[in-house]
């Protein structure tokens, strides 16, 4: 069958194209930006239209109805993926059919707004395809009845009116019911007529008789198909006899109904308005001519029914062709046609996924080794990703695309706007759960950078640690230290006090953490511990040279305590640190004033250290009595 060729739709951009300029564009998340421009700058100059237009696809996934559809079908999808391989196929089949039903009910819940009628019909045909002869027609009738719900409404209206038989829609209702094979209900409505006109009651009785005796196949019954066929032919002949004998000549409506029962094509075609679609015509035609139709024979009747109904001039719509393919149970064709004709990927993706699970789909092997189902699910999920909350559903879909799901997810999850810390953490968790380390690093880096820009050092530091970004952690630690030397106090104490092993990410960060610890110890008056830590910062080379002076200056209050804190050995070490510092090349950038300050500090320290040394020697030399 030829592929459906749908002409691309044209969307007009307002206030553009007057001077025959060009249209510039830029891809956005879920939309396209379009603006008038001129790539040649030849021709008349004018400001043109300085507008930027945002263009979106027709199906607005922001609509709450669609959101509901996506949310609920997501649950069904995930459930389907979980159906285990080792369940016996009989149970699996029923599970799949029930899943198909679930999809259908979800669709139906959104049907009016969605106009996904085609989708629903194809899902039904899916479950229909698992039927045998005999029951096939029953399912088709079911299907038609679902989609002609207006008949019920009209029937109700007629029956509830004061005199139903006089209602203008009376006969339409009766005929519609007959066309749908709802003989009992047709009889019920007919009885309203019969009770009025006694003289014609025999005619109505005859019709009632025909309708009552129309055989309906019972798949669960004991009757075989052959037995049913015999009975049906008998009944068919009876109807035909009534026509030949002009039983209903006195009432043209009854005559019409009898012709319908006999399956007269011309009469059926006359009911075009009531049938409204060619597939209804098809089902009715089968009902009254071939009730035991088998699935493989269906498409012959489908094609001819469509041609007869549409007539020579009308050309089928894309959706008609899709349905024809569906009647052929040519699933590939259906999917192909749907992909092109239906804009929304929802239907195609979910149907294909279901078919794939049933192993009904012998997938083509695509050039990059994936299969059709995955292609469609990826398309669908990518569309979801642009939505501010539905993107989370998309993650599950990608998870179940073994070939390309991961790389698609990696690419798209990076683009989720990190509006708030909470959202960023949500995105991060998804990446961390899947060991997407590069994406984790990148997201954390973006958050760290943003925090740093806004001078939120604590937040920047946490994000750097999470990103395992040593270089950035170093940078932020330096900022902290700068802040400290400017303000004399630390910010984000909670964070700094609880760094734990994360401290080891970078040397500067380790120093920052330990330095803060020193201050804490000092604040808690745990002087000897503080002293030991301070010294180790220098001797273990954790502290950068540039900060040694600061550290030594921090030692001063400890040196000036009444009791001796630094031991002799420790004091010697401090002294050698001081000398090491002074023996290094002088910083030529220092001003004279700065140099003075530096030398004064050094002198102060030397003095304090010397005094401490003498006191320490005395203390250690004294025997406690």
């Amino acid at each position: 069958m030829e592929e459906v060729d749908v002409e691309p739709s044209t969307t007009l951009i307002p206030s553009a194209g007057f001077h025959r300029k060009h249209l510039g564009f830029e891809w956005g998340p879920g939309d396209l930006l379009v603006y008038e421009t001129n790539y040649k700058l030849q021709g008349p100059r004018s400001a043109g239209s300085p507008f930027v237009h945002i263009v979106r696809r027709d199906e607005d996934i922001c609509s709450p109805i669609l959101r509901k559809l996506f949310n609920e079908s997501h649950l069904i999808f995930v459930g389907l993926q979980k159906i285990k391989e080792d369940i016996p196929s009989k149970n699996k089949k029923s599970q799949f059919v029930s899943i198909s039903k679930n999809y259908r009910s979800v669709i139906r819940a959104c049907m009016e707004e969605l106009q996904q009628n085609a989708a629903d019909r194809v899902f039904v045909l899916f479950s229909v395809s698992t039927q045998n002869a005999g029951s096939l027609l029953l399912h088709l009738l079911d299907w038609v009845r679902l989609h002609k719900s207006d008949v019920d409404a009209r029937a109700r209206e007629v029956l509830q009116s004061d005199s139903p038989a006089q209602h203008q829609s009376y006969w339409d209702v009766v005929i519609s019911l007959v066309l749908q094979g709802r003989t009992d209900e047709a009889r019920q409505v007919l009885s309203k007529q019969a009770s009025l006109r006694e003289e014609s009651s025999s005619v109505f009785k005859s019709m009632d008789g025909l309708l009552q005796t129309m055989p309906i196949f019972n798949p669960t019954g004991t009757q075989t198909l052959t037995e049913f066929e015999v009975k049906w032919r008998h009944w068919h002949e009876e109807c035909d006899r009534c026509l030949q004998e002009n039983t209903f000549a006195s009432n043209r409506h009854l005559e019409t109904i009898c012709k319908i029962l006999v399956g007269d094509e011309d009469t059926l075609l006359e009911q075009k308005e009531l049938l409204s679609t060619w597939y209804h015509f098809l089902v009715t035609r089968l009902l009254f001519t071939h009730p035991t139709i088998k699935p493989p024979d269906l498409h012959y009747y489908a094609q001819s029914s469509m041609n007869m109904f549409l007539g020579p001039r009308a050309s089928p719509e894309p959706l008609d062709i899709i349905l024809l393919s569906a009647f052929e149970f040519d699933l590939h064709q259906v999917i192909k046609d749907c992909s092109i004709a239906l804009n929304n990927w929802w239907f195609v993706a979910h149907l294909t996924d279901l078919l794939d699970h049933c192993k009904l789909l012998q997938s083509h092997n695509l050039h990059f080794g994936s299969n059709l189902r995955e292609f469609l699910v990826l398309e669908y999920a990518s569309g979801l990703f642009t939505h501010h909350s539905l993107w989370q559903l998309a993650v599950d879909y990608f998870d179940h695309c073994p070939e390309f799901g991961r790389v698609y997810l990696e690419l798209q999850i990076e683009r989720v706007p990190l509006d708030t810390e909470r959202k960023a953490i949500k995105v991060l968790r998804i990446c961390e759960d899947r060991q997407m380390s590069e994406q984790v690093r990148s997201i954390c880096k973006i958050m760290a950078k943003r925090a740093l820009r806004n001078n939120r050092l604590g937040s920047a530091l946490s994000w750097s640690i999470r990103a395992k970004d040593a270089a950035f952690a170093t940078l932020i630690s330096e900022r902290f230290l700068q802040d400290y030397s400017n303000k004399g106090s630390f910010t984000d104490l909670d964070l700094l006090d609880n760094l734990g092993p994360a401290m080891l990410l970078s040397d500067r960060l380790t120093f920052l953490g330990k330095y803060r610890e020193f201050h804490r110890l000092y604040g808690e008056k745990r002087f000897s511990e503080a002293a030991r830590l301070l010294l180790s910062l220098m001797t273990a080379k954790i502290a950068p040279r540039s900060l040694w002076m600061t550290l030594l200056t921090d030692a001063l209050p400890l040196l000036e305590q009444k009791e001796v804190i630094f031991s002799v050995d420790q004091t010697y070490e401090l002294m050698s640190c001081l000398e090491e510092l002074n023996s290094g090349t002088k910083d030529s950038n220092l001003t004279d004033q700065d140099e003075d300050i530096e030398s004064t500090k050094t002198e102060l320290l030397r003095l304090a250290l010397a005094r401490n040394l003498t006191m320490a020697i005395v203390k250690e030399g004294t025997i406690e009595t």
Binding site: T11, L12, A16, Y35, R45, S46, R453
Partner: protein, 363 residues
């Protein structure tokens, strides 16, 4: 498709480029009015202009965002032969209240002797690198070694293409399977050098870029070029805007010996060719998953192209101006504001091809 929203961009002259930031929450526009505007999408979904400033002394051709890992950074290029890097600084609190932000120039790149026709950041895994191409036929790759100091940029590579360059595109793939790769398109009408698309590849050993491939079948001027995002494919896909839309498949060929130096050899195939625009095609661009290609042509249309699962390409949508004139004040205001620079920029003679060379220097 439908027009969901129209934003009055308020530029006093033609807009030449519009660029979304990485997350699609900010937008930058640049214009012949020599300015760049930055727009932010608020929580209400509305776009607000948060900055507008003069960036160059000539038409600004392109504007592009750096990856947000590097902060809020923009680059612009202009007819005035320069490219510039801009960084947003966190403003005073009253600025924030007014919803305004400030962008300051971090550096001006003045190496080009002619109009700078394109500016692009390299993929982020290469660090903070900026690339420009000019009508003087040179592609320049700059690097900021210290990402915290955006005023220091060094010119790392100068690639001489021998043809006037109109566009560049980096292969976005960060896979270690292939080295950095950049494609350069030329709108030169020179017939001696017939291949108008050149592909350069970085060599780890020589630490230089070497030409890997010239697409000899592309003989007409090329106006735009775009590598498709690589989604786990072993080959590269490149779209070209020339007298039609062309999509090439570049399949890296296996090296004969493990030690062979020199750039990768490619097998080049044409994946698709569309001449529906029936005229020159000026822009091509891929969507994020490389499932859709958009092109803009002389026919005043934007067309969307899509491949189905059998790799058959079809046009799935067309955008076109409705031909109605701009109404209201826009027109009148523009005429008065345009003034001398625009008059000087009026094209003299239709002989010169290409927008960038045809413009005269503003007064």
């Amino acid at each position: 498709m439908f027009v969901a929203k129209s934003i009055a961009a308020d530029h006093k002259d033609l807009i030449h480029d519009v660029s979304y930031d990485f997350h699609g929450r900010r937008m930058a526009t640049c214009s012949s009015d020599q300015s760049v505007k930055v727009w932010d999408k608020g929580d209400d979904g509305e776009w607000h202009c948060t900055a507008s400033w003069k960036t160059h002394s000539g038409s600004v051709w392109r504007v592009t965002w750096a990856h947000p890992e590097f902060g809020q950074v923009l680059a612009s290029c202009s007819f005035d032969r320069t490219a510039a890097v801009w960084e947003e600084i966190v403003g005073e609190s009253n600025d924030k209240q007014r919803g305004q932000s400030h962008w300051i120039k971090r550096t001006t790149l003045v190496d080009s002797r002619t109009s700078v026709t394109d500016v692009k950041f390299a993929p982020k895994h290469m660090g903070l690198m900026l690339t420009t191409c000019s009508a003087d036929g040179v592609v320049r790759i700059y690097e900021a070694p210290d990402v915290m100091n955006l005023s220091q940029w060094s010119l790392q590579h100068e690639i001489s293409c021998k043809l006037s360059c109109s566009c560049i595109s980096w292969n976005p793939s960060s896979s270690r399977a292939h080295p950095p790769m950049i494609a350069v398109g030329s709108d030169d009408s020179n017939v001696t050098y017939s291949g108008k698309v050149q592909i350069y590849e970085y060599n780890e050993n020589t630490r230089k870029y070497a030409k890997a491939e010239t697409l000899m079948t592309v003989t007409d001027p090329v106006h735009d070029i775009a590598f498709a995002p690589n989604l786990g494919r072993s080959f590269h896909v490149l779209a070209i805007a020339t007298k039609d839309v062309r999509i090439f498949k570049l399949i890296p060929m296996r090296r004969e010996s493990a030690n062979s130096s020199g750039p990768t050899k490619f097998e080049v195939q044409v994946m698709a060719q569309f001449d529906s625009h029936n005229s020159q095609v000026w822009r091509v661009s891929w969507n994020i998953t490389s499932t859709l290609l958009a092109s803009s042509g002389d026919d005043g249309c934007v067309r969307l192209w899509k491949a189905n699962y059998m790799d058959n390409w079809k046009c799935t949508g067309i955008l076109r101006g409705d031909g109605s004139p701009v109404n209201g004040s826009g027109h009148a205001a523009a005429l008065s504001a345009v003034g001398v620079p625009a008059a000087a920029q009026m094209v003299v003679g239709a002989a010169s091809a290409g927008r960038k060379k045809a413009q005269l220097m503003p007064g």
